[in-house]
Symmetry: D2
Subunit: 244 residues, 4 copies
């Protein structure tokens, strides 16, 4: 029996990452990565309880050794599984400060998480995605999560915007290099507050003013299922009442 | 019995428009508009033969009277139907010429089709979409078809790029005005050759080097089904081997 | 004696156009175009009184016959003068209205002024600029004036944004076609309120919160003087306190 | 006697940086920074020989201690001088490789030079520019040098594009924070090959197909002299025959 294909999702907490994991778990074995197992334990257990397959691996995307160890574990555990999808979704690096109060560490942390992290993740994910081309139902897919700060460097967002712009550049470059090789690389722009536990208390005038993690996950799945004749690179998502 | 909701699609020939009509006909009664009935007769007949509902109305989008007459007909024929989706997809205006050989008529034709046409279409479609908000399963949706020329004014594309830039501006403005009112306005960038009868003879190095009209239609349907918490405005679609 | 080179400036009122005329009149004979002679009479007289050379011609840029008549007059009056610079700066078409209150005429007026107007102007100016390549001190230059609405379609700006996006597309296309032929085509984005008689009464928290027409004119002159090894296409100008 | 104001230019080799130093030395004492004194010795000597004032300081912009030491030296040597302009122009980080051959070090080097380097430089330059507001003839100015890779992530440019996108984000964020405080922050996009010793042997069909370092320097000076009512943020510069 052929083993189920894998989806690897980096950056899984109780919000978007968990929704993506649930969505992709309907078709694939999922591997979720986060620094702190507390972030993924609940969703891993939930998926396994509901008849899906999921494992969590603790990893710090900003550290290439940690990323390499995680991928080594994945390959040891699933020696014959193909990687159908990889999603880079870590949230780190968002700090909002006047520039002269921003520390070198703030800046390094943002770039470490979003730029170096994406580099480390893509270095290991892409060879696996290339191997999956023949066997995959859908073109193997690599999706990067962006934000408003991916296309606008607002005042006091110097660190986060630098890191999200860098991530978008990486995504573009990979799309242009690996698209023609049959790997679908996409980048999303999540332009609004996401409805996650951390933002539950943020009240807006309209009740449904926040991005739905499940709807975001649907979008990622939609991107994944596009045929290679018709790849989307970039998708901007925002609540209907968002100013932009 | 409640009447089926409507999808109105302007710019239907044997390619993208027909695929969109087929896709939306799975859920809605479709009304297709084109200047020449030859362009839509086949798909209208096909939909009706397959158990769907479709009518075609001859209309020139660049002429507001023609657009008004078409919408008057739609409302007369479907007095109790709500309009769940409207798609603006006319292909007119593509002329590639050195600027000094471009005629005033070339330029007017392009703007007439893409800019005035979209204006005329939106003026009539939006009030109907607003009326459909309560009854629609998905947020009422207005989608405009763009092209590479929507974001890049290439040499010799002065007329087409002017018209496609104008269309994109209109789409942005409508998204910002009517999104908060619950109407989902989107714009797509079709960045590549579409696989339609007219391009059948265009041979590329790779067999699947052209955008699939059916996959484009799937994308439009996907946009239509997004919840209002999580609207995409812009989606760029291109074949995997496209240079961009 | 060789006759002085010409600068032709369309869209001259008491603000930016007049400042551009004054600036270019230091080196060239200037021809200013506006629908209403009241708009240019003062600056024409001022330039001539100060030892410069200027004439005004009444022209409606949105009407190709009117533009052709104006250029015929220019060529009759200055049969041996080369056209060193042409600036397209008409202000028409700015209307801010909810989309459903916007009339077809509002939309046509905006496109007529900004898109068709620029087309008409460029059709006549470019052959003259091409002829001036050998004799010009600086590469012959064609500059189009844009606005915030050239890159953002805000709510209620559907007409103006459509027209300004179209104008930018035209400028890009011309830059890509005629740059390699030695004509410098540029586009500016004036992102803020301009300090002109009409806006004198608009008071902001900061005294110098408005774009200076003279400083804009300096920028246009700077663009004009760039060597062809180092052409700028786009320049965004805004007051220091502007939000963007 | 009041001491001359300073211009601090980071990233000075025999090309653009040297031209900028020469240009700004006509009005200011210049301090040039580069890792290797071989890069700046010639231009420093040339400026001093021609009646200007220049010093060079060896500094590695990617290392905050090195940047801090350099600025400490500047302040020790010119205790009463105001900093009228600061230019960030280091060239490091350009590596063109298939992504899977790109090393972590390649990626870190690019971000170190362009992103961390700009962060380190701006952290020290901005307080000095803020202090110069009252005494400066022109608004104190901070200019960052970008490239094609600042707005396009091409295949095989993952490292350089990431770093240049990050730099642009930083520049935008600083412009939005410090513009309203009276400091002019700009970003240039040098879209083409620059005519420097290293590219002398690159022959194109057209003789003047390369960006002129002196013309680039003129552009930087032009940006510096803009009044605060009329700041440009971004300027794209390319040879007339460049494809874009």
């Amino acid at each position: 029996m052929a083993s189920k294909a894998l989806a690897i999702i980096a950056g899984v907490g109780p919000g978007t990452g968990a929704s993506i994991a649930r969505k992709f778990a309907k078709s694939y074995s999922v591997v979720v990565l986060a620094r702190n197992p507390d972030n993924y334990d609940a969703v891993v257990q939930e998926i396994n309880s509901n008849g899906g397959q999921a494992i969590g691996i603790s990893a710090d995307v900003s550290d290439s050794r940690s990323v390499n160890a995680a991928f080594d574990k994945i390959q040891a555990q699933y020696p014959s599984s193909k990687v159908a999808a990889a999603v880079f979704n870590p949230g780190g690096g968002l700090v909002v400060k006047p520039f002269l109060e921003l520390t070198e560490e703030d800046y390094s942390t943002a770039l470490g998480s979003q730029a170096h992290g994406a580099f480390n993740f893509a270095q290991r994910a892409i060879p696996l995605l290339l191997q999956a081309r023949e066997s995959s139902e859908h073109p193997p897919t690599l999706i990067f999560t962006g934000a408003t700060a991916s296309i606008k460097g607002s005042a006091k967002f110097a660190a986060f915007a630098s890191s999200k712009f860098a991530l978008r550049a990486l995504a573009q470059s990979l799309a242009r290099e690996f698209g023609p090789q049959g790997v679908h690389v996409s980048h999303t722009i999540l332009d609004g507050v996401i409805d996650i536990p951390r933002t539950k208390s943020w009240v807006f005038e309209h009740e449904d003013a926040k991005l739905s993690p499940d709807a975001i996950a649907d979008s990622y799945w939609y991107l994944h299922t596009q045929p290679r004749t018709t790849f989307a690179f970039e998708l901007d998502l925002r609540p209907y009442i968002e100013k932009w």
